[in-house]
Amino acid sequence: MKIGVFICHCGENISSTVDCPRVADVCRGYSGVEYSVDYKYMCSDPGQNLIKNAIHKYDLDAIVVGSCSPHMHERTFRNAAVSAGINPFMVEIANLREHCSWVHDDIEASSRKAIELMRMAIEKVKRDKPLTKIKVPVTKRVLVIGGGIAGIQAALDTANAGYEVVLVEKEPSIGGHMSQLSETFPTLDCSQCILTPRMVEVHQHPKIKLMTYSEVERVEGFIGNFKVTIKKKARHINEDKCSGCGMCITKCPIKKKAYNSFEEDLAFRPAVYVPFPQAIPNIPVIDETVCTYYKTGKCGMCLKVCDREAIDFAQKDTMHVADVGAIIVATGFKLYNIEKKSGDSKYKGYGEYGYGKYRDVIDGLQFERIASASGPTSGEIKRPSDGRVPKKIAFIQCVGSRDDSKGISYCSKICCMYTAKQAMLYRHKVHDGEAYIFYMDIRAGGKMYEEFVRRAIEEDKVKYIRGRVSRIYEEDGKYIVKGEDTLAGMPVEIDADMVVLATAMIPQDGAESLARTIGIPYDKYGFFNEAHPKLRPVESTTAGVFLAGACQSPKDIPESVSMASAAASKAIILFANDTLEREPVVAKVNEDICAGCFYCMKVCPYGAVEVKDVKDMNGIVYKEVAYINQGVCQGCGTCTATCLSKSIELAGFNNEEIFAEIAAL
């Protein structure tokens, strides 16, 4: 093997404390080194040309560059090597700058260390093997989990780019939390009005396969080649036959047994229902838990009135398998449960605010329903308890958020804005009403956001009080809100008719189990982790799985939408090629000597290890060995060290290479 050695001065960054010409001289003396040279700037064009010319002239098989950190210029030198016809993995970098010249003063010591670092790199490169990038075929179909605004946006963008989409939503209708909202800040335009057309578009899009009332059960495979099993829960309505006429809903005798969860339990719904009138798909669901038929076997009113024979009491959950190349997770959020919780819950709740005890102490989403024209009060602001119009409302921000003692230290980001909006809406609808907002800080970063809050204060006379509320109790039909005005430095007491709590956003139920199903990491609250907080915010650490919306952290609508579009474009980028190229730094099992203990499987963070049967000449399985799926392996090498017989090799860091480095210490 012929090795070329190139020592970079990095201007004077290296050469000021390392005698570069001497290092090059010494390296020339090592066996295998055909050519050794030092140069002012190896990464410059002349420097790279020096490398390329040397490769041609001396017919080099491998090169070692003594320069800055490989994190800096490994790619540069690999590209130079490739253009001169050498495999990029036959390039080793000795870090003479960050690990040597910059950190040592003593010329003698750092020159010696530089020589030793070069010796290690030379011995390693002798054992390097040419590697080629791994090609994996790509299934050009995306799975979007969650049919809220983020999921809808991601699905539409991907579908409009020409790729098939499977959109899975666990509720009977898509729309998510946005469909529950009344108006949106800072424009105060009607939430449903802007959302519904998008929902219809999803429904009618030829590339989108919509699966509502469904959940992801299992995810196998890897980037470009996921196999997803989806459980479609039984609706007990034949979707092909149902026309959405709603006769079954009107005739259902069960009227007041089940709370309407879309109305945030402020209203009831029948046993057969659609969540809301604009639901997509407009197909009802029969709730087995309240339907008389499932209890007594009688009734069957819906069956009688349905002229299309769409009612199917015997329907069972079904499993569907989809092959997809990418997954966009957009499972969204739910609100912190403010009722006082027993000890087993992760969060403590706010017993002192009396939520659940006093009917007029409500959370933000309940207020949205009350303020919504399609809500239970048809948009009139009324108290849930007695239907009276409240003359004084206290809004309390940061209920749950930014409160370590209650379990959440993060800011839920949107509460400042929606509380301002809700106070504004209240003032618009009840002109003589008073709105008080208890806040810790007002965080109104965003286009037109600060102006919006100012408008609430200045034009709509919303009264902001900086301070926390210690407790709420009922007295003569009023709710006494005891708090503190920290700016005035005195206690405050407000006798409100209604209290609205801006509760924290927390991840949707089952987020953690879904994360385990897909194999993506999540933080201690259950929000999914992005691959890099700044540079890869929409990718999970699992290749091919992208994140959109509030499942990653609290977000408002425009952020969720832009993140969804970003996730969609990541998927589209992935689909731009028929095959996927991956760095070949992956582990490989020596099947001849694998004993099949599967410790590698236990330690693999990515589930890349599979069981493979080894057959003899007659096709009879005689042993089971580990097999590492090259598409899934991320190349950490934990399996290589766990393998007791060292039967796994990590390409680029294999045993011989590391041995050589140690030997050349």
């Binding site: 001849d592 000597i593 694998c594 004993a595 099949g596 203990c597 599967f598 410790y599 236990k602 330690v603 005689y622 042993k623 089971e624 766990t642 007791l644 017989s645 060292k646 039967s647 045993n655 011989e656 041995f659 050589a660």
Partner: protein
């Protein structure tokens, strides 16, 4: 003993098992493993205080597994196992080497075995592992024989030895173990008798690169014995076969015992005691000891 023979005979005759791995008597105080496939030969089977071998080592051997394949059918393998040998079987099941379904465990209520062949069975000559044994009744079995009898009392000299070594300064300890390991002739009997050393090719047999020098000089011996002990850390079930097999009388199970104690201290784990507990190697706890790390 007749019950054991009868049971083994029934198993073989019914065609349920392909072979019975057991012990036969060769002299008054010595038994020897025997692999029986013919019902007629079951009469040789015995179980007593001289059944020292840990027969679980045979379960992973390809040639023994081959015995079970008859006309496309995989028959069971019956094994007579002391309660402590069952620990090895559990560890092997957890490490995917055998299926619980294909092993028929014939076990015994055990009151200890002699430390080696040829010794009278009494407190002075009790095998070291039996002194601290807590499983006189097997944790898993398909058939149980034997009466519950009292184990002779003996003092735990191994633990005293470990304490003694721990009290030495580091350089003395190093010299002590260097001297012990220097006796090693690299016959690998410790590896051959260990039920958990089932690797198809041991790390020491791999010479490109040569992580463990194959020469049996001090350094090669040191590397081999340290890595052997490390590979068994958290896995060793403490059967003590390595000690018995070693022709150079290196106190191998002393190190194994020490590492088992560490497994218990650090991770509250004892190998081979439960099929449900995840193995120590290959699992982790976010709360594992972090003191070691700066």
């Amino acid at each position: 003993m007749n019950e054991l023979i009868k049971h083994a005979r029934e198993l073989l005759e019914s065609g349920e098992v392909a072979a019975v791995i057991g012990y036969r008597q060769v002299s008054a105080k010595r038994t020897k493993p025997v692999i029986i496939t013919d019902p007629e030969e079951t009469s040789a089977l015995v179980f007593n205080e001289y059944c020292l071998n840990n027969l679980a080592v045979y379960l992973t051997k390809a040639r023994i597994k081959l015995l079970c394949k008859k006309n496309d059918k995989v028959l069971k393998l019956a094994i007579t196992a002391k309660p402590c040998d069952v620990h090895s079987i559990v560890a092997l099941i957890q490490e995917n080497q055998i299926d619980r379904d294909t092993i028929h465990i014939i076990s015994f209520n055990c009151h200890g075995v002699a430390k080696d062949f040829g010794f009278d069975f009494n407190g002075d000559n009790l095998a070291s592992k039996c002194i601290t044994c807590e499983t006189h009744k097997p944790l898993y079995y398909d058939k149980l024989f034997g009466e519950v009898m009292e184990t002779p009392q003996a003092s735990d000299t191994a633990i005293a030895r470990i304490k003694e070594i721990e009290s030495m300064p580091h350089n003395e300890r190093f010299e002590f173990f260097k001297g012990e390991f220097d006796k090693c002739i690299k016959c690998y009997a410790c590896r051959a008798v260990c039920p958990l050393c089932y690797c198809q090719r041991c790390i020491t047999d791999k010479t490109i690169p040569c992580w463990i020098e194959t020469s049996s000089h001090q350094r090669g011996n040191f590397a081999w014995n340290v890595i052997r002990a490390f590979h068994l850390s958290g896995r060793c079930t403490g059967c003590g076969e390595c000690d018995r097999a070693c022709p150079a009388d290196i106190p191998l199970s002393l190190i194994n015992r020490k590492m088992s104690m560490e497994a218990k201290n650090l991770f509250s784990f004892v190998s081979g005691r439960s099929l449900e507990t995840p193995t120590l190697v290959g699992s982790y706890n976010e709360k594992d000891n972090d003191e070691l790390f700066m």
